[in-house]
C-alpha cells in the first residue's frame, strides 16, 4: 500500500517537467498566485509612476480595504461551507441605516463600542434568518440570498426611509476621524491612518482562529467538501449553515457602520451592487466557488489585489473603464489556474 503512494510520487518527480511542478505547487498554494499578481501590479505601476510609492497612497489603500475586507471574510466563511451569500450588502445597508437612525433619534450620545455591538448583533440576526432558510428549505443558498437581499432592501426603502443622514451620530463621526498615526511626507502633506483599520485586523484574527482552531472551523470545511458525507460523520448541517450565515451577517453589520463612519453619511442606497466584486476577491484568493476551500490569507490578498486594481491603475493613466477589463482578465486567469486539479 505504502509503495503504491511512494511509487507514483517517485515517478512523478522523474517524469514531470519544471512547468508542471510549478503549476502543481501553485495549485497547492493558491494565495501565492494572488501574491505574485499583487507584486506584479505594484512593480508595473510603481515603475511607470513613482508617486505610487507614497505613504499616503498606502493609507488610502488600507482605508478602502476595510469594508470590502469585512465583507470578504464573511463570504469566505460561507463559501468554505459550500454556500454562497449575496445578501450581505443589503444586510449592511439595512443595519447601518437603522442603527444610524435609532442612535440619532433616541441615543445621540451612545459611544462607538455599543454601536458596533448592536450592528454586529443585528447583522447576525438577519444572517441567521438566511441560514435557517437555507437549512430548512434545503434550497441553494445563492437563490435564497438573492431573495432575502431584495426583501431586506425593499423593506428598508419602503418602510424605514430613503432620506440621507448627513449628520451622523457624534461617536461614529469621531471614530471615522480618529487617527491611528500620522505621516508627514517630504512636501509637507499630512496623511492619516485611521484607527478603524484595527476593526478589520480584529476580524482577520477572529476569522483565522475560527477556521483553524475550532471544531466549527473544521466542520465548515467538512460541510463544504461534501455535505452528505459530513452529515453521516455526525456534523450538524443546520448548526453549520446557521452559524456561517450569522457570522457573515455579523461582519456585514459591522462593515455597514464602518462604511458610515468613513463616509460621514448614511445613504440607504449605498453598497448595493458590490457583491460580485467581493465574491471575486475571495475566489482570486484561491477559494473554490464550489466550496470546501479558501484561506484567510488568500482572501485578504484577493481583497488587496482588487483594491489595488481599482484604486491605483488610475495613477498610470488607465481609465476606470479599462480597469474593469483588467480586473476581469485577472479573475478569468485565476479561475482557470485554480480549476486545474492535481492528479490523483
Amino acid at each position: 500500500m505504502t509503495d503504491i503512494t511512494s511509487d507514483t510520487a517517485a515517478s512523478r518527480a522523474h517524469t514531470e517537467s519544471a512547468f508542471n511542478r510549478v503549476t502543481r505547487w501553485l495549485v497547492r498554494h493558491p494565495p501565492a498566485v494572488t501574491a505574485s499578481l499583487i507584486v506584479l501590479v505594484c512593480i508595473v505601476v510603481g515603475s511607470i509612476n513613482p508617486d505610487f510609492w507614497q505613504m499616503s497612497n498606502l493609507f488610502d489603500m488600507a482605508r478602502s480595504t476595510v469594508v470590502r475586507g469585512l465583507f470578504a471574510l464573511g463570504v469566505l466563511v460561507v463559501l468554505a461551507a459550500g454556500g454562497l451569500d449575496v445578501s450581505f450588502t443589503a444586510i449592511a445597508a439595512f443595519v447601518m441605516y437603522v442603527i444610524t437612525m435609532l442612535v440619532t433619534n433616541y441615543a445621540p450620545d451612545m459611544p462607538i463600542l455599543p454601536i458596533l455591538l448592536a450592528a454586529g448583533l443585528g447583522g447576525a440576526v438577519l444572517g441567521s434568518a438566511n441560514g435557517l432558510l437555507v437549512s430548512s428549505l434545503k434550497a441553494p443558498s445563492l437563490i435564497v440570498t438573492i431573495g432575502t437581499q431584495y426583501v431586506i432592501r425593499g423593506f428598508l426603502l419602503t418602510f424605514i426611509g430613503t432620506a440621507l443622514f448627513m449628520n451622523i451620530p457624534a461617536a461614529m463621526d469621531a471614530f471615522g476621524k480618529l487617527a491611528l498615526f500620522h505621516h508627514q511626507s517630504a512636501n509637507g502633506a499630512v496623511s492619516t491612518m485611521p484607527v478603524y483599520v484595527l476593526v478589520l485586523a480584529v476580524a482577520i484574527v477572529a476569522t483565522w482562529l475560527l477556521l483553524n482552531r475550532t471544531l466549527m472551523g473544521r466542520a465548515i470545511y467538512a460541510v463544504g467538501g461534501n455535505a452528505g458525507i459530513a452529515e453521516r460523520l455526525g456534523y450538524s448541517l443546520r448548526k453549520v449553515h446557521v452559524f456561517v450565515f450569522a457570522y457573515a451577517g455579523l461582519l456585514a453589520g459591522i462593515a455597514g457602520i464602518m462604511h458610515v463612519a468613513s463616509n460621514r453619511l448614511a445613504n440607504p442606497f449605498d453598497l448595493a451592487g458590490s457583491e460580485l466584486e467581493v465574491i471575486a476577491a475571495v475566489v482570486l484568493g484561491g477559494a473554490r466557488i464550489t466550496g470546501g476551500s479558501g484561506t484567510v490569507l488568500g482572501t485578504m490578498l484577493g481583497v488587496v489585489l482588487i483594491t489595488l486594481v481599482s484604486n491605483v491603475l488610475i495613477l498610470v493613466g488607465i481609465p476606470s473603464t479599462s480597469q474593469l477589463a483588467i480586473l476581469g482578465l485577472f479573475i478569468v486567469g485565476a479561475g482557470a489556474l485554480f480549476s486545474i486539479k492535481p492528479r490523483a
Binding site: 505504502t2 509503495d3 503512494t5 482552531r213 475550532t214 467538512a222 453521516r232 450538524s236 490523483a344
Partner: protein
C-alpha cells in the same frame, strides 16, 4: 500495531468477556408498503469477523443504516454492550463505538489525511458540539498512531495531503485508520473491496487481524464470495428481508453460499464455451503513453480477451487509450487491417470501439434520465428523422429492443436509471454500447458492485456477443471473472505486458503471482524514500 490502539473507552465495562458487543433483536423496517426487514436477529461478538451477505435489495443496506444510526427502525431492539439503545443517531452510534465505512468511504475530499482520520474522535468527544477549540496536537497524535497501525506513512507531507489527491487504495486504509482512531468496537465495511486488487485485499486482511487483537469486530457487507472465504469468519446470510442462516464461511462451498443468497443454484462454471475463428480483428502495436509503454497484442474476431494487473500496472490507462479518452502518445492501433484514429472518444466510436467504463455512476450513466434516453444516447445522429429532429418512435423501438435483449428488469423504459439495481444499470450501459454495433467492446470492471444473480446474466450476454462475432476485451481485477469468461488473459505490470495466458484450465494463483511478481524490488525501492 496492536499496542498503538487503545481501548480505554470499553475496557471499564465489567462483563466485557461475556456480553456480545452488539445484539440485534427482531429488527423491523418498512418503506411504504414494502417490508425491507422482517424481524432480523443476530449477535456480534468481540474481536471477530462477520460477513453480512445477500443480493441487492435483500435488506442488508437498510440493516446497516439502522445499526449506524442513519435510519430509525420500526420495531425491534439494538443492544450495545448489554444496554438497549433507543433513538440512535450517527453521533450516538459513533460514541457507542460503531464506525461505518460506506462504499464511498465517507471521506471528506478537501480535508487532509490527518483530519479525515482524527477529527471524528474530537467531534465525538465534544458530543457534536462545534463550539469547541480544535486540539491540533491531539489531532496529529491520534492520526499518526492510527495511520501507522494500518501501515500508511506519517510524515507531515502525507498528513497534510488532501484525501482527494490520494489513490483509492490509500483512501480505503485512511477510512479504516479513522475507525481505529475513534476507538471503534465494531467496524462495518460496506462493500469494502470493490475497487481493490488482490494485493490490497491481502493487506486489508492483515489490518483486520490487527483489529481483532484489540477486541474490535469487523462486519463486512459484501457479495464477493471469494473474498469472504479468503478473509474467513461468520457469514450472516440474508434474503428478502430475513436472515436465512448463520455459518462459518470457510466450511461451506461457494455454490452453497450462493444458493442461500439467491435461492437458486449457481456454480463456478466456465462460461466460455465456443471457440473463435482465429481471424485477427484488433492489432495493437507498440502502444505507449504516460503510464504504459511498448504494449502490443492482437485480438481475434469473436474472442474474449482479458486484461488484468494491479492498480498501478497501466491497465486502466491502456483501456482509456483504446477508448480514445486519453489517447496514446506512441504506437498504433488497427482494426480489421486498417489503422484507426483513436484521438477522441467520438473517433473511437466511429471506428467501432465501444467502451463501458468502470465507474458507471460518474462516468457512464445519466442517472436522473430515463432508461430509454440512456440507451439511445450514443446513436442520436443515426436516429434523425424529418428536419433533422430525433425520430422518437425509432428511438423508443431501438431502446425497447435493446432492453428486452439484455433482460433488464424494468416495467417501463421511461423510468429513470436510478430506479434500477446495480446489475440492471450495468446492463443499460452495456446496451447503450451495443446500439453503436461495435466491432470491439471494451468492458472495464463489468461486474463491479453487481450481485451474484446479475453477474450470471452479464456473463451470458458477454458470451452471446462473442458468439455473434464481436470481440470483447474485459479489463478487471476480479480474477475468477476473467477465468470464467476469457480465451486469453494478458497480465500487465508496471506499464508493460508481463505475461499472456490461455485462460482454460489456468490457476488463479498463477495469474496472481504474475501480477505481483517483482514486488520485492518494490519493497527495496521503498527504502529510498
Amino acid at each position: 500495531m496492536p499496542d498503538s490502539v487503545t481501548n480505554e473507552s470499553r475496557a471499564g465495562s465489567a462483563a466485557e468477556g461475556t456480553i456480545p458487543f452488539l445484539e440485534v433483536r427482531d429488527l423491523q423496517k418498512r418503506f411504504g408498503g414494502v417490508r425491507a426487514l422482517k424481524g432480523v436477529s443476530f449477535k456480534i461478538e468481540r474481536g471477530r469477523t462477520y460477513h453480512l451477505m445477500g443480493e441487492n435489495g435483500c435488506g442488508k443496506s437498510t440493516l446497516i443504516k439502522i445499526i449506524s444510526g442513519a435510519q430509525p427502525a420500526d420495531g425491534g431492539e439494538l443492544v450495545i454492550n448489554g444496554k438497549t439503545v433507543d433513538n440512535l443517531d450517527p453521533i450516538g452510534a459513533l460514541a457507542a463505538g460503531i464506525e461505518t465505512v460506506y462504499q464511498d468511504l465517507s471521506l471528506l475530499p478537501n480535508l487532509s489525511a490527518e483530519e479525515n482520520v482524527a477529527l471524528t474522535r474530537q467531534l465525538v468527544a465534544a458530543n457534536g458540539n462545534l463550539a469547541r477549540p480544535l486540539d491540533r496536537k491531539a489531532l496529529r497524535r491520534t492520526a499518526v498512531k492510527a495511520l501507522s497501525a494500518v501501515g500508511l506513512p506519517t510524515d507531515p507531507y502525507f498528513l497534510s495531503t488532501p484525501v482527494e489527491q490520494l489513490p483509492i487504495a490509500t483512501r480505503q486504509l485512511i477510512a479504516i485508520a479513522r475507525a481505529i482512531a475513534s476507538d471503534a468496537g465494531l467496524v462495518i465495511m460496506d462493500e469494502p473491496t470493490t475497487a481493490l486488487t488482490r494485493r490490497e485485499v491481502d493487506n486489508l486482511v492483515r489490518v483486520v487481524r490487527g483489529l481483532h487483537e484489540n477486541g474490535v469486530s469487523v462486519l463486512f457487507v459484501t457479495h464477493k464470495l471469494d473474498e469472504c472465504k479468503a478473509i474467513g469468519g461468520t457469514a450472516i446470510i440474508m434474503r428478502d428481508g430475513q436472515k436465512i442462516t448463520e455459518c462459518d464461511v470457510t466450511e461451506h462451498s461457494k455454490t452453497q453460499l450462493g444458493f442461500w443468497m439467491t435461492g437458486k443454484e449457481l456454480d463456478d462454471k466456465r462460461y466460455r464455451a465456443t471457440r473463435h475463428s482465429g481471424e485477427r480483428l484488433l492489432s495493437v502495436q507498440e502502444l505507449g503513453a504516460r503510464n504504459f509503454d511498448g504494449v502490443s497484442f492482437d485480438v481475434a474476431r469473436g474472442e474474449v480477451f482479458g486484461i488484468t494487473g494491479l492498480l498501478d500496472s497501466g491497465r486502466n490507462e491502456l483501456a482509456l487509450a483504446l477508448a480514445g479518452i486519453s489517447p496514446a502518445r506512441r504506437g498504433g492501433v488497427s482494426l480489421a487491417g486498417s489503422a484507426v484514429d483513436l484521438s477522441s472518444p467520438a473517433r473511437a466510436i466511429d471506428a467501432g470501439i465501444g467502451y463501458v467504463p468502470e465507474d458507471r455512476l460518474s462516468e457512464g450513466l445519466f442517472l436522473e434520465k430515463s432508461i430509454r434516453e440512456n440507451v439511445v444516447m450514443a446513436v442520436l445522429d443515426r436516429l434523425r428523422g424529418a428536419f433533422g429532429l430525433l425520430d422518437g418512435r425509432r428511438a423508443r423501438a431501438l431502446a425497447q429492443k435493446t432492453i428486452d435483449d439484455l433482460q433488464v428488469a424494468t416495467p417501463d423504459i421511461d423510468n429513470p436509471v436510478t430506479s434500477l439495481s446495480g446489475g440492471n444499470a450495468q446492463r443499460v450501459l452495456i446496451g447503450r454500447w451495443l446500439t453503436i454495433e461495435p466491432k470491439l467492446l471494451i468492458l472495464h470492471g463489468p461486474t463491479v458492485g453487481v450481485d451474484v444473480g446479475s453477474k450470471d446474466t452479464i456473463f451470458r450476454i458477454i458470451q452471446r456477443l462473442a458468439g455473434e462475432g464481436m470481440s470483447v476485451i474485459i479489463i478487471s481485477d476480479d480474477l475468477p471473472e476473467l477465468l470464467q469468461n476469457c480465451d486469453r488473459i494478458m497480465v500487465m505490470r508496471k506499464g508493460r505486458i508481463a505475461d499472456t495466458f490461455e485462460a482454460e484450465g489456468l490457476d488463479e494463483d498463477v495469474l496472481y503471482r504474475s501480477m505481483t511478481a517483482e514486488d520485492n524490488s518494490t519493497e527495496n525501492r521503498r527504502g529510498d524514500r
